[in-house]
Every structure is written in C-alpha cells, then in structure tokens.
C-alpha cells in the first residue's frame, strides 16, 4: 500500500500563540487545516503538500510544518 507507506509531515501548532485568525486555514491549498474554536487544528494531514504557506502567512509564529 503505497498510500499508507507515505511519510507524513509533522505540523506543529503553538496553541499559546495561535490567535485564531484563520489565515492558514484559508490559504492552505489542500484543505489540511480547520478552525476548532479559537485555534487551528489539523483535519487531514495526509493532504499536506509541505508547501509552507500556512507558516509563511501566519502572523503569530504559531504553525510550522516539518518533513
């Protein structure tokens, strides 16, 4: 199963820093993230392309994506 063997990225969210602006959710090209109350949460890790857009546009140093 090639799909299952695919190495998943690691999305690190700093919940203390996240202000829930939803910029990362809105700009993620593959709908990986969602808002859960006032912080962001990972909804579909498998869809993450590691493009880094969420990190690049997060104003709050609150999200990073590691390979």
């Amino acid at each position: 199963m090639g799909e299952a063997a695919k190495k998943l990225p690691r999305i690190v969210i700093n919940e203390k820093f996240c202000k829930g602006c939803s910029i990362c959710v809105d700009f993620c090209p593959t709908n990986v993230l969602e808002m859960k109350g006032s912080t962001v949460a990972v909804k579909d890790l498998g869809a993450c392309t590691r493009c880094q857009l969420c990190d690049l546009r997060c104003p709050d140093f609150a999200i990073q994506v590691f390979d």
Partner: protein, 287 residues
C-alpha cells in the same frame, strides 16, 4: 478555502525557518490583533536579515510609535523604540555615530508619512545608508483607526465615517522624488517576494525605502466591510497590486488603480556618512 492559494516558490519545501534565533521569547506572543499583517512582515524581515548574513549585533532596528513600531520589542538585535514620527531622526544619529551598523527602521504609514513626513523626505534627500520599512495598513491602527495619508479615497475610518476625501500619497513616488536611491514595494501576502525585496534593500548602500502593504483587519478591515482578514489580503494586497515585471505586458486598463510591487527605482548616489567621512579626511590632510 476562501483565500487564493499561490505557492510562490517550490524550493522552500519542508524546511521551516527558525525564527526563534532572532526573537525575544519572553516578549511573545506579540500584542498584535488576530490576522494583523505586521506579524507577517516581521517574519519576512527576519528571513531577509538571515539571508544577508549580518550578525545580530550588526543590526540596529529602530521604530517610532504605532502598532507597527512595536516590532523592535520582539527581536534580539540592537533596538530602539523612540518617538512618534521621529524614528528616522534617531536612526540618523545612530548611523552617523556608528556607520558600521546596519540600520533598519520599522515604521507605520502614519508614523512615517504624517507626523514623520518631514523626516522621511529629508532622510531620502540625504541618502543616508539605512532601510526604511513602511508598514502601510492605510490607517492609524494603534489609536483606533483614524484615516492615514495612505488611506484610499472613499474608504471609511473612524475620522471619515462618510468616506475619505483626501487623496493618498504614493509612498514610493514620494521617496523617489525626495532622493532615496532604492525604492521598492511589497505586500504581506506576497511574503517570499517581500523577503527578497527586503534583503536587497538591506544590502543596498544608501536610503532604501520599502513600502509594505499589509492589513489592519481590526480597523481598516471592519470599517470597510471586509468579511475576513483573508478577504482583505486578497482584495488589497493580491488583487490591488501588480509586480512591476508583469506590468509592461498588461494593458493600461488592467493597471488602473493598482500599486506596482518589486524594485521600482535604484540609482547609485553618494551616501551621506561616506561623504561626510571623505570631507573630514580631506580637511584633516589639508591642515
């Protein structure tokens, strides 16, 4: 996905930047509102500085007063948080006293162009070596959303409830006319392009002005009925600007009302500190 996803460069995969290297951890999280563009600009600035290779001790970051001017408080360089509109005067003093420092001024559109407008044009005129990053959110964020010298016509602010009737400044045109030898524009939205622009601005010798269009969702966004920060960024930063390299290929109607991004002006012109030093040496030799 309500925003428009644009991956600017493919090579930046899977290597997150270590911002902590340049931050003061005990000062974070920062005070900016959810979605405030100033945080995105700060991150681009840190990546740009990292690329220049200057050590933290070689950088001096100076600001005036405003939300944007809170920036130096969060970073581990030599920093000064000064008076409203006067960041450039302090910066001139610092640079003149120690020309080896790389001076970066972080200022707001109100700070730089309203109360500090005179300092702005005379800094450009002297062409003293420093980088001036103007965070243009078209409002006075810190004091509650009054209109600023860059607020577009007809926009609503706490001081223009029926729409602004004052024509805005074009910061870049003004900087160029006043004599700045490097003038560029970026947006928080085009964050990788901004990183490169800021890098080039810092490396340039002379006064570099970078006008950075960013969002104040709390005041400008709400007063002008933007649905979200993303909506504001899409309309003002993405759709409201065109990269100067693409501008030639576009018909004039596609450029109407849009701001050009990228490097807009660059000339070689004598730098102030260097000229002063030359003059002193010349006079000393003549004695």
């Amino acid at each position: 996905m309500s925003g428009t996803a644009v991956v600017e460069k493919k090579e930046r995969v899977s290597v997150p930047f270590d911002y902590n290297k340049y931050l003061r951890p005990n000062k974070l999280p920062h005070i900016w509102c959810p979605g405030c563009g100033h945080g995105i600009v700060l991150k681009a600035m840190l990546r740009a500085i990292d690329k220049t290779g200057f050590s933290k001790d070689e950088i001096c970051m100076i600001s005036g007063i405003g939300c944007s001017s809170r920036t130096p408080g969060y970073v581990d360089f030599n920093t000064m948080h000064t008076l409203h509109g006067r960041a450039l005067s302090f910066a001139t003093g610092v640079k003149f006293a120690n020309p080896r420092l790389k001076v970066i001024v972080v200022t707001g559109d109100g700070d730089a162009l309203a109360i500090g407008g005179n300092h702005f044009i005379h800094t450009c005129r002297r062409n003293i070596d420093m980088t001036v990053v103007v965070m243009t959110n078209a409002t006075y964020g810190m004091t509650g959303g009054q209109y600023s010298p860059t607020s577009p016509l007809e926009t609503v602010a706490t001081t223009s409830r029926y729409g602004n009737i004052e024509p805005p400044f074009d910061t870049c045109e003004m900087a160029k006319a006043a004599g700045a030898s490097f003038v560029a524009r970026g947006t928080a939205y085009h964050t990788l392009e901004l990183e490169k622009t800021l890098h080039d601005a810092i490396m340039h010798k002379g006064t570099s002005v970078v006008d950075v269009i960013d969002a104040c969702p709390t005041y400008f966004g709400r007063a002008n009925k933007f649905k979200s920060t993303t909506h504001l960024m899409d309309v003002v930063e993405k759709d409201g600007t065109v990269n100067v390299k693409q501008a030639d290929k576009l018909p004039p109607e596609k450029l109407e009302g849009k701001f050009l991004r990228g490097l807009l002006h660059k000339v070689d012109r004598p730098e102030y500190c260097e000229q002063y030093e030359n003059l002193v040496m010349e006079k000393a030799k003549a004695k």
